[in-house]
């Protein structure tokens, strides 16, 4: 056993022998479970994440959208294509469209053959609405039903676009990429790029926007990041799929955070399972180590031997687990196709690697230090009397190494070092608190059991015996309590957050969410417009005055120089901002710093207080007390930031980055904006009246966007449910694994009680009491843990209002008692039937 290869052979032999032992099988199963769960959830998350991103991409028209007022050059196209991106050209403009005497302004969307990069159009080609993955054929156009109505044109007839006559071949019901650009104010006409030149619309001075849309893998998109930055600097408007989707923003980020939270929970559960199984494995290996040491093995040889054995075990479990994960993922696909109408991209290899890595890390983290420390600590004399345990030094080593490994995994899964560190420290503190609490609870149980169980019949004897058995098993029970508490808490948190997320999403877009925006309402029209809205709309936002101004200076320095380098190209610096004034804080805005302006006194005193949206303030690198100067027309106004606000971008109401107090902006030219909701039935009639009475007011319908967002939320909801199912399943498997691991000890106990004369009924009651108490106590601890963790997660991460969940304190203890009771009962049914010789192993393997 001196050479490396014979050590290898010995370790392999050891593994083979090991697999005969129950504890190694338990460890093996736990590892397989861990790998399978993490790969499967990893796969799922990966694909779902990419699917959701693709949805957002669909809303935007592509993963990347470039926009400028000149055609894009071929060099750029080549570069993008070489990066693996698929391109689509699009031209947007507004033009008069006519048929006979009827004229109507239409917003033109000129597309190429690659359109749409994502999703499908819903269009009526004369035989009802169908889905098409392409735009109109050359020579023909598709138009919005409203335009058809206004021009009195039917399918098959033709319209005049510029100098070209084109046939109307379809009526557009919905475009996959309907963004809220103001161009869509006028009804849509979609045509082919090949017909554009003949229309003669492309002339110097005409307002035309050229768009280049690109679709590709996240890697491909990432690979052109630098190019995009350069383009931004050249004045090209660049949209990346993750930016600039405010309507989806918070819902999507929350959903993604939820999914990664679930991934974390799965890893945590896997860790618990492995930790539970490792203990006995390590215990037994201490004996072997001691024996080998007595036979003359050196410390180094022992350390190497165990390292090899662990490696073999991890390798074998990884392969089996990864295969299971792959199979599970394929099964998942079938499920997904039914529940989740997203077209998901093919699985990446990363999750597979991640799963295997996770298992290895968890195994090394939990079992490694013990196995490594064992030979060093063991000396023959101690060994044979088994005085090794507990090894204080190695216990700390285990916690440290396992903690570090787990922290690294947290980091890997959340991609946020600060968060990972906070979670780790929080987790360690929680563990210590729970340990202490568990210790106290067990002591209490023991006390009560010895005090009150003495008299009475068999039932109370069972109660006393079960309780004291549990409490006396000290370390083992404490370990199980912690494991179960963590498991229950993980299951509870994932369930809790799901419920709160879903209700947040439901309240986010109620049925009467504004579906129309009205802009350009003149001050003189304000009263009248508002009166009509009061009559016809079931909800409407306030009318906000709107003044357009450009941010030119921050604290008296030119704005471009004052902001952090990374944000020099922020849209807020390039475009005019919409400014408003208001006495009170707008609906669905939240003050996060400073104070809302209370009186006009500040204005009178010469300094103008302003309120700024937090995100903008962060990008501009400004805070309370800084001053912003806006150029409005030929004038300039300076305000000092006195408050920061959070906005609900998904509220579908007018939102403003900067709000002034009344009395400052009134003298500049302004118009009003509002949002309101009209029932589907009322549309045509009411809109007709509004348009007739206020021809200058532009109405923008966001029904399509709303529908998209709702659909997306529904899909995300289903995804969340599925993931929840996984986590719950993983949790139950952990319970099962942990109870299986403790089975040998229980077998021993029940065998002895049998020898002393206990009947099956008593045994079953004793064990029932034990399991129920274990479940109840760990449920109680889990409620505490879950409540604390949820508080932190809500406030610190998901940006949801924290709340208490009183029902947790009932459901977890009683549910825990029931769950552990049932699993435990099922597991130990066989034990109670066995003759003592078998359960005690009096003869045989002993």
């Amino acid at each position: 056993m001196s050479t490396g290869s014979s050590l290898l052979a010995l370790s392999l032999k050891g593994l083979r022998r090991d697999l005969r032992a129950g504890d190694v099988r338990a460890l093996f199963v736990a590892l397989v479970l861990a790998v399978a769960a993490t790969t499967m959830i990893g796969f799922f998350l990966d694909r779902l994440d990419r699917g959701l991103t693709r949805q957002a991409g669909q809303l935007m028209g592509g993963d990347i959208k470039l926009e400028q007022s000149d055609p894009f050059g071929d060099d750029l196209r080549d570069t993008l294509r070489n990066a693996g991106l698929t391109l689509s050209d699009q031209v947007d403009t507004v033009s008069m469209v006519s048929r006979g005497d009827a004229f109507q302004l239409a917003s033109l969307k000129v597309v190429d053959g690659a359109y749409p990069l994502y999703g499908k159009l819903r269009v009526d080609l004369g035989e009802g609405i169908i889905e098409r993955a392409a735009g109109p054929a050359p020579g023909s156009v598709w138009i919005a039903p409203r335009l058809a109505q206004l021009l009195d044109v039917a399918i098959g007839e033709s319209v005049q676009v510029g100098q070209r006559e084109l046939t109307v071949s379809g009526l557009i019901d919905r475009e996959p990429d309907q963004s809220a650009g103001f161009a869509s104010l006028s009804p849509r006409l979609m045509m082919r790029l090949t017909d554009l030149e003949a229309t003669g619309l492309v002339r110097p001075g005409s307002r035309i926007e050229y768009e280049l849309l690109a679709k590709g893998t996240p890697a491909a998109v990432a690979s052109v990041g630098e190019l995009l930055t350069r383009l931004r600097q050249q004045g090209v408007e660049v949209e990346d799929v993750r930016d600039d989707q405010p309507q989806l923003g918070s819902a999507l980020t929350r959903a993604q955070k939820y999914l990664s939270l679930s991934g974390l929970a799965a890893v945590l559960l896997a860790g618990v399972a492995v930790a539970m199984a490792t203990r006995r494995y390590v215990d037994r290996h201490l004996d072997t180590a001691a024996l080998l040491r007595c036979f003359g093995a050196s410390q180094r040889q022992l350390a190497q031997l165990f390292a090899w054995q662990l490696a073999w075990l991890a390798l074998a479990a990884s392969v089996v687990g990864a295969l299971l994960g792959l199979v599970g993922q394929a099964a998942l696909l079938a499920l997904l196709a039914r529940f989740l109408p997203l077209t998901l991209p093919a699985p990446g290899m990363l999750p597979l690697l991640l799963g295997v890595l996770t298992a290895l890390a968890v195994l090394v983290g939990f079992a490694g230090p013990n196995a490594a420390a064992a030979p060093a600590a063991c000396q023959c004399a101690q060994v044979l009397r088994r005085e090794l345990d507990p090894l204080p030094a190695s216990a700390w080593l285990v916690v440290t190494v396992a903690g570090l490994v787990f922290g690294a995994l947290l980091w890997l899964y959340s991609g946020d070092l600060g968060l990972a560190a906070a979670l780790l420290v929080g987790g360690l503190i929680a563990l210590v608190v729970l340990w202490g609490l568990g210790w106290l609870l067990l002591a209490l149980v023991l006390r009560l059991a010895t005090r009150f169980g003495a008299r009475g019949g068999e039932a109370s004897r069972a109660l006393r015996l079960g309780a004291s058995q549990l409490a006396r098993r000290r370390q083992a029970s404490l370990g199980q309590l912690l494991a179960f508490a963590v498991t229950f808490a993980a299951m509870a948190i994932i369930t809790l957050v799901r419920g709160d997320l879903l209700s947040a999403w439901q309240t986010q877009l109620p049925a009467d969410t504004p579906n129309y925006f009205a802009i350009n309402i003149q001050p003189g029209e304000r009263e009248g417009f508002s009166d009509i809205l009061d009559q016809v709309a079931d909800t409407r936002s306030a009318l906000y005055p709107m003044v357009r101004g450009r941010l030119t200076a921050i604290d008296d320095r030119p704005a471009r120089e004052a902001v952090p380098e990374a944000h020099r190209n922020d849209n807020a610096l390039k475009r005019e901002l919409n400014l408003t004034w208001r006495k009170t804080l707008p609906e669905s805005n939240r003050l996060v710093a400073g104070r809302w302006f209370d009186t006009d006194t500040q204005v009178a005193a010469g300094s103008v207080p302003i309120s700024v949206e937090r995100g903008l303030a962060e990008r501009l690198g400004v805070g309370l007390g800084d001053s912003l100067t806006f150029t409005i027309g030929s004038d300039s106004v300076t305000g000092e930031i006195t408050s920061l606000r959070d906005l609900d971008w998904d509220s579908f109401r007018p939102n403003f980055f900067v709000i002034f107090p009344p009395g400052v902006l009134e003298r500049y030219g302004h118009s009003y904006i509002t949002a309101f909701h009209l029932d589907a039935g009322a549309h045509g009639d009411v809109l007709g009246r509004l348009v007739a009475a206020y021809p200058g007011v532009s109405l923008l319908n966001v029904d399509a966007i709303l529908a998209r967002v709702r659909e997306l939320l529904a899909q995300v909801t289903r995804a969340v449910e599925l993931v929840l199912g996984f986590v719950l399943l993983a949790g139950v498997s952990v319970l099962y694994a942990a109870l299986t691991a403790s089975q040998t000890l229980r077998a021993h106990e029940s065998g002895l009680l049998r020898v002393f004369g206990a009947g099956q009924r008593l045994l079953s009651r004793v064990q029932g009491v034990e399991f129920a108490l274990l479940g109840f106590t760990s449920g109680l601890m889990a409620a505490l843990l879950a409540e604390g963790a949820a508080l932190g997660i809500y406030a610190g991460w998901l940006d949801l209002a924290p709340r208490l969940h009183l029902w947790l304190w009932l459901v977890l203890p009683f549910g825990g008692a029931l769950l552990i009771g049932v699993i435990g009962h099922l597991l130990s049914r066989g034990l109670r039937r066995q003759a003592p010789v078998q359960s005690l192993g009096l003869l045989g393997e002993g």
């Binding site: 009397r385 088994r386 005085e387 345990d389 010895t450 003495a454 008299r455 009475g456 004897r461 006393r464 015996l465 004291s468 006396r472 098993r473 000290r474 370390q475 083992a476 000890l745 021993h748 106990e749 065998g751 002895l752 009680l753 049998r754 020898v755 002393f756 004369g757 206990a758 009947g759 099956q760 009924r761 008593l762 039937r833 066995q834 003759a835 003592p836 010789v837 005690l840 009096l842 003869l843 002993g846």
Partner: protein, 243 residues
Amino acid sequence: MSDIRDTYAASAATIPTLEARGLGKQVTSGERQLTILDDLDLCVMPGESVAILGSSGAGKSTLLALLAGLDTPSHGELALFGTALPALDEDGRAALRAGRVGFVFQNFQLLPTLTALENVMLPLELTPGRDHQQRARDWLGRVGLGERLDHLPKQLSGGEQQRVAVARAFVTRPELVFADEPTGNLDRDTGSAIIESLFALNREAGTTLVLVTHDPHLARRCQRCLRLDGGRLVALEPDEVQA
């Protein structure tokens, strides 16, 4: 079975604590059938002390487990306290043992997670009563472990563990004690002390003792010595017993 009982009823007018006739135990390991016990007869009267000797692997532990109803014989008749064991189910056998039978295992079978005191208390806790702890303490004191109450088995030496096992077997004041090499790990003095308490109980409370031992010192103290050989029991005269 009834004829055995008649025989003894005639001679002693008491029900034997233990009687076996034609008792056999076979096990199959792999393809081979192994006969451990073969057509064995035994009768132990209340208050008797019996030593069973035999070479290693002779089947002594197997016999003890069978007699205590911890295992089922392949064939033969067996009665404990006058009740036929093979007719009972696992529960019935356990109920028969409860509070009446003590057992010292050859490998002690202490629960590793319980302290010495808790291990000894365990059988008491199956019965009603409140002075469990005191009784367990007393017994641990009698086997010389009064100072080691809170130690876990792994913190005790082999002999100390054995003494805990002995205390656990006696703590319920059973009518019958089976002990598989109760002094096997003990030095002569400690062994003698244990033997003294065994026989004190035998004298005072009339406890029946069935002991497996290699220790001639212990064997000679018993009223009867039997040797297990070839699956059967053969009576030995006390002076045939040697170290």
